[in-house]
């Protein structure tokens, strides 16, 4: 049971860190993108949308080539560590958070900007108001990013290596159990993963809905 607890904690650590980092970059970037005139950022937007569909194993392969001992970041020696897994999941979550944030900011943005500018508000206040107004959409973006990374297996398998007690997370553990033919245990792990996702999403949803009642 100790092994399972560790797997669960590592899963939360890796996916949680990846999403927090992705949100720190993705929410401001998405807000910026959503505030630009559409015509100016068409190419960039299309690129982001495309990257939202990046296959996890390709993301994993890119990170592997980057951090392999032969790669440009090889000196860091992070391959087969949780840090490598965070890097790969960060790569997967960031486009989703940027893309969805920009969409929701764009939906609210222009109207708010126009109103506030006519009232003579400072840029700082404008930005704050927009993020406040778009918070449901931004929350949804972060939740979607989290859903993507906690469920993916290709990238963490590639750069984590599924090493027992070190880099084994829920999804790679499930793959291993399936490979060894332990279907019922694999299914149990899958159920646990779903329950964890449910609890976390329920918590985030409460925060999101709580905002509405205020």
């Amino acid at each position: 049971m100790g092994g399972l607890t560790q797997i669960i904690l590592l899963t939360l650590y890796v996916s949680g860190s990846a999403v927090v980092l992705a949100a720190l970059l993705g929410v401001p970037a998405g807000t910026w993108l959503g505030l630009q005139p559409k015509a100016n950022v068409r190419g960039l937007t299309q690129l982001i949308y495309t990257l939202m569909g990046l296959p996890p194993v390709v993301g994993g392969l890119l990170i592997y080539l980057l951090i392999s001992r032969k790669g440009p970041l090889g000196f860091m020696g992070v391959l087969f560590t949780p840090s490598a897994m965070i890097m790969a999941q960060f790569l997967l979550a960031t486009p989703i958070i940027i893309g969805l944030t920009s969409t929701s900011v764009r939906a609210k943005g222009t109207e708010v900007v126009d109103t506030l500018q006519s009232l003579g508000a400072e840029n700082k206040l404008i930005l704050r108001t927009i993020m406040q107004e778009s918070r449901f959409g931004i929350f949804a973006a972060v939740i979607a990013g989290f859903g993507r990374v906690i469920a993916e297996v290709g990238a963490v398998m590639m750069v984590g290596g599924n090493i027992e007690n070190h880099t084994r997370v829920m999804t790679t553990a499930i793959v291993l159990e399936v490979r060894q033919g332990n279907f019922s245990f694999a299914l149990t792990l899958g159920l646990i993963l779903l329950i964890i996702s449910f609890v976390i999403n329920a918590g985030l949803y409460r925060l999101q809905a709580g905002g509405r009642d205020e």
């Binding site: 650590y13 949680g16 087969f80 060894q180």
Partner: protein, 274 residues
């Protein structure tokens, strides 16, 4: 709202530190060694049986990454593993000659068997040689599932078809691109033949209606070798530790432990270090 967000972030980060501290404090700085190996040695439970005694004795942590042989060799070439335990002897020797690996030793062998549906539509059972067995499958155009993943098992299978001078046709030859367990499951579901190592088959046989239909040909022996990544290419890999583990595998202690590994009553890997 913003405060809530910051609170979550802090909570998460705090959590994360807790987790990472836990994993860091587990042992008193043992040397960490990355062993890239095939799914067969790992999934059969051999390494889980062998390594703990070694780790304790030498204060090392062996991190096992189990992959197909093709990927394991590639990782080794890139210096991303310290030591390899794989089964593709010809390729291994080539790569040693090319300077990618050093200190290669035979460790043990297991054998491959041809499994298939109990009905045995191609009448493989009782074939005089592995060539005849494959010829029977080809002649009946009975469905055959290949690993198709460039693993040691896949390479072996390709070599066997070549030795039998048969070019499998797409109509009955399926390239799965999957590990041994997945391939066995596919063969079971599709009532097909496949080539498998005995260990994986025995470990999972209760779940399948597959039966061993051909075994025993000397060409079906599957030699495992151990080798270290060449430290001249990557000075900061754990070469010294890798050598200690190689010595363990080929020592009488290690060899006896391999012979004594009998999870299903029979010896799965036969030690034959030189």
């Amino acid at each position: 709202m913003k405060r809530v967000g910051i609170f979550i972030v802090l909570l998460l980060i705090a959590n994360l530190f807790l987790v990472s501290c836990n994993t860091n404090n587990d042992a008193a700085e043992p040397v960490e060694l990355i062993l890239a190996t095939t799914t067969s040695t790992f999934d059969s439970g051999l390494l889980a049986d062998l390594l703990p005694q070694f780790e304790e004795k030498h204060n090392m942590t062996v991190k096992v990454v189990s992959l197909g042989t093709g990927q394991a060799l590639e990782l080794g070439k890139n210096g991303d593993a310290d030591i390899l335990l794989v089964h593709a002897k010809t390729t291994e020797l080539e790569m040693v000659a090319e300077g990618h690996f050093v200190d290669r030793h035979d460790v043990m062998y297991n054998d491959f068997v041809i499994v298939g549906p109990t009905t045995d539509p191609a009448m493989v059972k009782g074939s005089a040689s592995v060539d005849n067995a494959l010829a029977a499958i080809a002649q009946q155009e009975s469905s055959f599932i290949s690993r198709g993943d460039d693993s040691g098992t896949h390479k072996k299978e390709v070599a066997l078809w070549q030795a039998a001078s048969i070019a499998p046709a797409e109509s009955w030859y399926v390239s799965a691109g999957a590990g041994m367990g997945d391939t066995l499951r596919m063969a079971d579901e599709k009532e097909s033949y496949t080539l498998t190592d005995r260990a994986t088959y025995l470990a999972q046989r209760e779940q399948y209606d597959l039966e061993i239909l051909y075994e025993g040909d000397a060409n079906l022996f599957n030699q495992y070798g151990v080798m270290a990544v060449n430290p001249d290419n990557y000075p900061d890999i754990q070469y010294e530790a890798a050598k200690v583990l190689i010595d363990f595998f080929i020592s009488s202690e290690g060899q006896e432990a391999i012979a004594g590994f009998k999870p299903y009553g029979d010896t799965l890997f036969f030690p034959n270090a030189d």
